[in-house]
């Protein structure tokens, strides 16, 4: 089952450690799928749908299927870029700062996707 970014990062931001790591790095992420109106902005202040309240550090353009494969741990982030299924806009050097956040994202994604649909 796929989990949307709003649900995923909403759950992650409930974890103080994850939120602190985003804040310490000054990282904000903007996920933009091809479908209009489905963009999600994530920062240590919370998750918001629609236009970002301030310019994000990194903007991710990818479909839900690609996001599902990445957060499921089946598709390495950089492989998604190389395969041109993911475009990242923003300082490329900052992408590396996501590396140690990915295990938490993937673990939460696995947990949420395993939950029975309510």
């Amino acid at each position: 089952m796929t989990v949307d970014h709003r649900t995923l990062f909403g759950a992650l931001l409930a974890d103080d450690d994850f939120t602190a790591r985003l804040k310490d790095r000054g990282l904000s992420l903007y996920f933009v799928p091809p479908e209009p109106g489905a963009a999600v902005f994530v920062s240590s202040d919370g998750v918001a749908a629609g236009e970002p309240p301030f310019p994000p550090t990194l903007r991710f353009e990818m479909g839900q299927d690609t996001a599902h494969e990445i957060w499921s741990g089946r598709l390495p982030l950089m492989n998604a870029v190389v395969e041109r299924r993911l475009a990242i806009k923003g300082p490329v050097g900052r992408v590396r700062q996501l590396a140690d956040l990915l295990p938490a994202v993937c673990a939460t994604y696995a947990e949420l996707s395993a939950r029975p649909r309510s």
């Binding site: 390495p76 492989n79 190389v82 990242i88 806009k89 490329v92 590396a99």
Partner: protein, 427 residues
């Protein structure tokens, strides 16, 4: 002959001054000229350090290295460059690197190439080889291959694409379905067995490891192209003869032979069949930095001509006061600044977009390679007989200006990349 003595002294001691450039924000600020590009402080610092390194370390060895046998290699320059951090420019600061992106590398390579394009290419080719490991995002691969660049002794990497019958096909989008390396990788056990011959591999004679592009057996065409990291002390690797080149004599282009070379599966970058996609991304970085090298070649030749035209007196005034010479100098200067602006823009895109668009790097290299030849040739003719003599360096810039027109994409290949972008074949 009045200006001759000063010119000779300037060239031999490396005191030829650099004119302000459009990326030289401090100089432009002093001249009250606004600049579209303000380099980040860490890149400005790197540029200034590399400029000094080029002046004090590279410059005194240029002529001797150029005249040396074609298979000589100056490890001393590499060692001193390593001390400065030139082999770990793109490694993140948390790894002990300098943490600059394509912009920083390009600006540094222009500084080196303005004195010696060969030296710029030694460092540039190593950084290109490293790029596969850095871009992999694979911590295990990075843990095995990055620490070598952080030790006391310098370690070089290289990048192996070109073969006797394969090269341009791999860089032309329209040809990609047919593009194929003759070097093959056969799955065996928990890894692969590589067989094939790579040609003209810069640093191949001296590198510790190599990024190798090979086709999976039974998977011809771009879809089968796969990227491997191969230590060059692996059993079955032979370093072939060093090419005896017209220019770029201080960096070694070598044949690499792979005969039943076992490579563990962990050394595959981005997975099977992603080689062509990675190659096109890597080309954006390479083309941008080679555009910077060509810009440096043009600048190096121009600086000699500029100094000469300021010293040489004809009909009672310096050459630059003669309309004919002034027109030439102005055209040369503007061409160099335009080339720099194009590569700065391409580098900015590469540092802020993954994957970066192909247009910018291809356009930057197409232009810079051309003007390097034009400016170097013009500079040589302005110096007259002196320009034809080795001690004045201009003829070396002429020889090296032709090199970049061949490696990392010929004008024909670059034109296809540019028009491909114009017609929407590639974003």
């Amino acid at each position: 002959m009045k200006g001759m003595t000063a010119m000779t002294a300037a060239v031999s001691t490396g005191t030829v001054t650099n004119a302000p450039t459009l990326s030289d924000t401090a100089a432009l600020s002093a001249a009250a000229m606004p600049s579209l590009f303000t380099l980040p402080p860490e890149v400005e610092r790197l540029r200034d350090e590399v400029r000094e390194f080029a002046r004090t370390v590279v410059r005194p060895r240029v002529l001797a290295n150029d005249l040396a046998p074609h298979d000589d290699f100056d490890w001393e320059i590499v060692r001193k460059g390593h001390e400065l951090g030139l082999l770990r420019m793109t490694l993140p600061e948390e790894f002990g690197g300098r943490g600059v992106g394509v912009l920083g590398v390009a600006v540094a390579l222009e500084e080196l190439a303005a004195v010696c394009a060969s030296t710029a290419l030694v460092f540039g080719a190593s950084l290109l080889g490293q790029s596969s490991v850095l871009a992999s995002g694979d911590p295990a691969l990075q843990a095995r291959f990055v620490p070598g660049f952080l030790g006391a002794e310098p370690v070089l990497a290289c990048n192996a694409i070109t073969e006797e019958v394969a090269g341009c096909d791999l860089l032309i989008p329209e040809n990609s379905p047919h593009a194929q390396e003759v070097t093959t990788a056969r799955r065996e056990g928990d890894g692969y067995v590589l067989n094939g011959v790579k040609r003209f591999i810069t640093n191949g004679a001296v590198a510790e490891w190599c990024t190798v592009f090979a086709n999976l057996e039974g998977h011809p065409g771009a879809d089968g192209l796969t990227t491997f990291v191969v230590p060059l002390d692996s059993e079955g690797v032979t370093r072939g003869p060093v090419a005896d080149k017209m220019g770029y004599r201080a960096c070694l282009g070598t044949t690499l032979v792979f005969e039943d070379v076992h490579v563990p599966a962990a050394n595959v970058v981005h997975g099977e069949g992603n080689g062509w996609n990675f190659l096109t991304m890597q080309s954006n970085q390479a083309r941008t930095t080679v555009a910077a090298i060509s810009t440096g070649v043009a600048r190096g030749a121009f600086e000699i001509a500029r100094q000469w035209c300021g010293e040489r007196v004809q009909a009672g005034v310096p050459l630059y006061r003669h309309q004919f010479s002034a027109r030439k100098l102005a055209e040369m200067s503007v061409k160099i600044d335009a080339a720099r602006l194009l590569y700065l823009q391409a580098a900015h895109q590469a540092d802020n977009m993954l994957p970066a668009p192909t247009y910018g790097p291809a356009a930057a290299k197409l232009f810079a390679d051309r003007i390097a030849i034009e400016v170097a040739e013009e500079a040589m003719s302005m110096l007259g007989a002196r320009g034809y003599c080795r001690e004045y360096d201009v003829e070396k810039f002429v020889r090296e200006s032709f090199g970049a027109r061949i490696y990392e994409g010929t004008p024909e290949v670059l034109a296809l990349a540019v028009t491909g972008a114009l017609y929407g074949h590639r974003a």
